[in-house]
Amino acid sequence: MGGGALALLENRWVRLGAWLVAALLIAVIPQSFEDPDLQIFNYALASAVAAIGLNLLTGFNGQISVGHGAFFGIGAYTTGILVADHGWPHLATFVPAALLCFVIGMAVGLPALRIHGAYLALVTLAMATVFPQLILRYESVTGGGSGLAVPKWNPPDSVDLSREQFHFYLFALVTVAAYLLVRNLIHSRMGRAIIAVRDDETAATVLGIDAAKVKVMTFGLSAALAGIGGCLFAVAFRSLSPTLFGILLSIELLVAVVVGGSATLAGPIIGALFLEWSPEVIDAGDGQVSQILFGVLLIALMRVAPGGLLGGAKRLLVRAMPPPALEPPDDDEPAASAAPPPDTVEGP
């Protein structure tokens, strides 16, 4: 059969294998790491869900947002306030958090119909700037600068797990759900519309796609996922304060998406893990030197793999296993070219 690396990635057995590896990792990690390290995984999974949402908007729909930290914060505070002040069970708060972010996301998406590119980046940056100020301003509800303590979510008595282990399994479940949601969406009619609008809005409109509807819906859905990531963060971190949800967070989410591989399905998860683990791995003994190394690493990574870690890995694989030459034509012309350059391919 042949078909090179890309066909290999499409192969159902290979895909099944990848799922098995992922399942194995999810099963093994909580048993192999102590609670403090497990907590880093939990933060990473919370960011991963938000990054999956941001990737839907920025990677697949081509709308850059430097403000998803605000949706993350809205999700986190919704969970925090409902659990701490109104006694809701943690899981139940995810629904209003997602709905709230969906509505606000659509509202932010409306000006995006007219505003593009760098101008849109600023509108979203504005959101990231204003959100912490609003938390400070409405102190009576949010706890303001002194913070908001989120009650613990302990595992049910019937389950023999530590709290961190319980959170990890739960978060992994949510991450897989978010992954499947985006995967199925992208492979649906709506998903093809989302990508078509990114590639050429005019052409998409000519094809009968309601570009405005697609963009606003994508914004809302993307925001809702970011909000659910925030809910997870509230559960894991348990102490919310406005400084956590500033511009830096929004930038970090964008870094996670691009470093993992924008417009790939698993990229944001890889990017989020990279982002949360790199401060642990890059430890030069001096915080500032480590930061310098991290910045240099980002620059170098974009130089060698502009498509992110997943995009770069895929390119290496394609180079190692080039697709077979096209069938030579019937006449005596020599087969001119062997397949298109692999760089342009955007796979799953």
């Binding site: 101008y119 504005a126 204003v130 609003l134 001096d286 991290f294 240099v296 130089r303």
Partner: protein
């Protein structure tokens, strides 16, 4: 009345600084089509360089001039070594953005590591004198800041309109392919644009540090306002950057002072609402040119 005048002076003073840095952003955007998140940090590091020189008893004006020259080279090298190899902004917008974010992180951490996080005092370029006009106190530093901005704008105008290099810069920002075909050295133009942007940034840094203090975080406080200024004016318009900067500076101060429900903490937010209103009507900003696409 006196107070209003004083607030206006303060607004103009902030606005002139926003405008200079917004000019840097605009020059880079016109050349490479990307938002340089590291622009403020490049200016901050240059200002520390100038500070090192003043500590060695070099006059502050000379120190800032040397920092500007150094920044010109540094900016040009960044374009050549870090930006251009990644790809062009049409196809590589996201990786390029991450490169500038990486630059932001690196430069900021470097400044903290090399010079510490404590604030230092930086000698004001235009001295400590002040004059009083109709009850409002105007420091020489404020007058100097606004005057420097005007000089920079004047020089840029001459460069763009009266020199061959300026013509080449305008041609590249309008169409890279056609410029290359008529023999414009596009690479040199890009490096020069980044160099000029970095040099203007270094001047802005020296002025900010002279008005307030020198710290690794001094540019982060104003970066969002600078982005707002460039957006309001239009990312491809130097004139827009100047007008946008002054408008944002004045609006922030006035709304923070006189609209009670907004207050200083949400002044920036209110400014954003204003900008959003402008963008909905004119998506390309006040002075920007709308992109016309051939289908």
């Amino acid at each position: 009345m006196d107070e209003l005048l004083q607030q206006l002076v303060n607004g103009f003073s902030n606005g002139a600084v926003y405008a200079s840095l917004a000019l840097s952003l605009v020059l880079v955007y016109r050349a490479s089509g990307l938002l340089n998140f590291a622009q403020g940090e490049m200016a901050m590091v240059a200002t520390y360089g100038a500070w090192e020189l003043t500590e060695r008893d070099i006059p502050v004006a000379v120190a800032i001039a040397i920092a500007m020259a150094g920044s010109f080279v540094f900016g040009a090298l960044i374009e050549r070594l870090l930006i251009r190899p990644v790809g062009d902004a049409e196809t590589h917008a996201l990786p390029l953005t991450i490169v500038t974010i990486g630059g932001f992180i690196t430069l900021n951490a470097f400044a903290q590591w090399r010079w510490g996080t404590a604030v230092r005092s930086f000698p004001p370029l235009f001295g400590n004198g002040k004059i009083t006009v109709a009850g409002a106190i105007i420091t020489h530093q404020v007058i100097g800041t606004v005057a420097s901005l005007l000089v920079v704008v004047g020089l840029l105008f001459l460069l763009f309109q009266k020199t061959k290099l300026g013509l080449a810069i305008r041609s590249v920002s309008s169409n890279v392919e056609s410029s290359r075909l008529v023999g414009v050295p596009v690479g040199v133009v890009l490096m020069v644009s980044w160099g000029i942007a970095a040099a203007i940034g270094a001047l802005a840094g020296g002025l900010v540090a002279g008005n307030q203090d020198l710290s690794p975080f001094m540019m982060q406080f104003i970066l969002v306002s600078v982005f707002a200024s460039a957006t309001l004016g239009g990312f491809d318009s130097p004139l827009g950057a100047v007008v946008g900067g002054l408008l944002v500076g004045v609006f922030e101060v006035l709304i923070g002072r006189y609209v009670g429900i907004v207050g200083t903490d949400l002044a920036l937010g209110a400014t954003f609402v204003l900008i959003l209103g402008v963008l909905v009507v004119r998506p390309q900003g006040l002075f920007g040119t709308a992109k016309v696409r051939r289908v």
